[in-house]
């Protein structure tokens, strides 16, 4: 049987990765901006949280929030400089940012440099992760279903038309970037306190691209998709574990296949909400009754 201990580990990891994925989902899926630097924001969040807890003895939750805030602050500066850039130029700028953050951390011996920072308190528990995830999903859902979220979607769909109907496109790109960096930062903080260890290597470019792939896999413009995508894609390498060195080959094939065969991702921009579930359920009940009536 599948052991709970192992499963718990995967769930926790998926729950932790869900945060940066949600952030990226807002940025890429709802605002149409592509970032290769989110591992960098995770790193900032992780190291800030560690710093707060280890050096300043700040309690766990405030420390994690500080990590998020600090990542958001960085994203604000980066956004000021680069959000005016178009398409690939913005991509490369974020890519450079992510790598630069890693290089910086490699060099800062105070945080352990490339050798990492061991001995962090293991504060992340399954319950915390799940609670934070639920809050994160609800907040994001609320944003998306408000005029602010609609404005972001408008920016994604047609930037010029958005500004013509009075949307400050720069501001909404910025809001989206800052929120997504905050989420990534919190995720980084949780990761650090889950592993008990931080190392710049963890926040590599590969990690950033993985996050993006998860968002796309789940479906651009769908929060449910991001959630399902995270669970599946964090589990996928685990499932493929037995394939040893073939698993990344399979991973690559799956990514291309999804793009070709089902580019709208798992959820195809749709959301699975309680309403939908309820309706589905009612329909079933009705059908059942109708059948029973015969």
């Amino acid at each position: 049987m599948l052991s709970w201990y192992y499963l718990k580990g995967i769930i926790m990891l998926a729950g932790i990765y869900l945060l940066p994925v949600l952030g990226l989902s807002l940025l890429t899926g709802f605002t149409g901006l592509f970032s290769f630097g989110h591992a960098g924001f995770m790193a900032i969040g992780g190291y800030t949280t560690a710093f707060m807890m280890m050096k300043l003895e700040v309690p766990f939750i405030p420390a994690i929030l500080m990590g998020g805030l600090f990542a958001a602050f960085f994203s604000f500066i980066i956004g000021k400089l680069t959000l005016k850039l178009k398409g690939d130029y913005f991509c490369i700028a974020t890519l450079g940012f992510g790598e630069a953050i890693r290089l910086l951390l490699d060099n800062i011996q105070y945080f352990g440099g490339a050798r990492g920072w061991p001995g962090l308190p293991l504060k992340t528990t399954l319950i915390t992760v799940i609670i934070i995830d639920i809050i994160a999903v609800i907040l994001l859902r609320n944003i998306i279903r408000s005029r602010h979220g609609r404005n972001m979607i408008a920016v994604r769909e047609e930037e010029l038309a958005s500004s013509i109907i009075g949307i400050d496109t720069f501001k909404y790109k910025m809001i989206s970037l800052v929120i997504s960096a905050f989420y990534a930062g919190v995720g980084g903080g949780l990761l650090g306190t889950y592993l008990g260890f931080l190392q710049p290597k963890i926040f590599s470019l590969t990690r950033s691209t993985e996050l993006t792939i998860i968002v796309i896999f789940g479906g651009l413009g769908s929060l449910t998709g991001s959630v399902v995508g995270t669970i599946l894609l964090i589990a996928l390498p685990e499932i493929l574990r037995s394939f040893a060195n073939w698993r990344l080959v399979v991973y690559g094939v799956i990514v291309v296949f999804i793009m070709i065969a089902r580019p709208e991702g798992l959820m195809g921009g749709k959301e699975l909400s309680f309403d939908v579930l309820r309706n589905l359920f009612r329909k079933r009940v009705k059908e059942a009754k109708a059948e029973g009536g015969k």
Partner: protein
């Protein structure tokens, strides 16, 4: 009084002068036509007025304020909005979502309010600004769809709409801002005579209903001549003539430009 005054407006792209020292006014409550052969600089003027392009020289005064250096979204919020020649809808959203998005102009609730009140029991929510304004926005969207006859197709994806309805949807989206000045870029392009006729009525109706002024680019001369109070003619980036439809029809230079330009659209 004039709602819009364009004064010595000039735009250069590299060495090319697309708009050269153009001056004209749009009277409040009027429908003004902007005509001219292809490449005369009509759409460029729209782009300059709405802040899409940066002005090279000259002044644009809207409602007593100079706006030539403002950003596009600010100009929109002041009360100028437009449609596009090559329709720019939020393609993958539904008709309803397109209109609702544009209605955002009429709401003020903050991001924070949205985050807090988005998913709380109705009892608490009911008194929040978020709830009130969202409700209002939805009503406005419904109303706009009703006026433009889009109700039946509210759940269509914008991209799948028939052409004429896409144009209507663009107008609906623009009207959501309660503009004082509406810029229409070839609203009748690709329409048959019957549809054009309907559109002509619609534009006049909108002007009265929403109490706004209209500046429109159009190649359908019937439409222009029928509803415009004033017409401005452009040729090669310069203003050629200005006057009532009758005056323009009789202007020999305009005739020459249209015939000589090899474009009798």
């Amino acid at each position: 009084m004039n709602i819009l005054q364009v004064n010595g407006l000039t735009k250069q792209f590299g060495g090319l002068t697309a708009v050269n020292d153009v001056t004209f006014d749009v009277e409040r409550g009027s429908i003004t036509g902007l005509i001219g052969p292809n490449g005369a600089g009509k759409t460029t003027i729209f782009n300059l007025v709405t802040g899409v392009y940066k002005v090279t020289g000259g002044k644009i005064v809207f409602d007593g304020k100079e706006i030539q250096n403002e950003e596009a979204f600010k100009i929109a919020n002041m009360g100028i909005t437009r449609t596009f020649q090559n329709i720019r809808l939020f393609k993958r959203l539904t008709v309803y979502e397109n209109v609702l998005t544009a209605c955002q102009y009429n709401a003020n609730y903050s991001l924070f309010e949205a985050m807090v009140f988005g998913l709380v029991p109705k009892k608490i929510k009911r008194n929040s600004r978020f709830y009130r304004e969202e409700k209002l926005l939805k009503e406005q969207a419904e109303e706009l769809m009703e006026i433009l006859g889009l109700q039946d197709r509210r759940n269509f994806i914008a991209n799948n709409l028939p052409y004429g309805f896409q144009r209507r949807l663009e107008i609906a989206r623009a009207l959501a801002l309660r503009p004082k000045l509406l810029l229409l870029d070839e609203p009748a392009a690709g329409m048959n005579p019957e549809e054009t006729e309907k559109l002509t009525e619609l534009i006049a109706f909108i002007r009265d209903k929403f109490d706004l002024s209209v500046l429109l680019i159009e190649h359908h001369m019937d439409l222009v001549m029928e509803i415009c109070d004033k017409i401005v003619v452009l040729n090669f980036g310069c203003k050629l003539a200005e006057g009532t439809p009758k005056e323009i029809q009789q202007n020999p230079e305009v005739q020459k430009a249209y015939l000589g330009g090899g474009n009798n659209a």
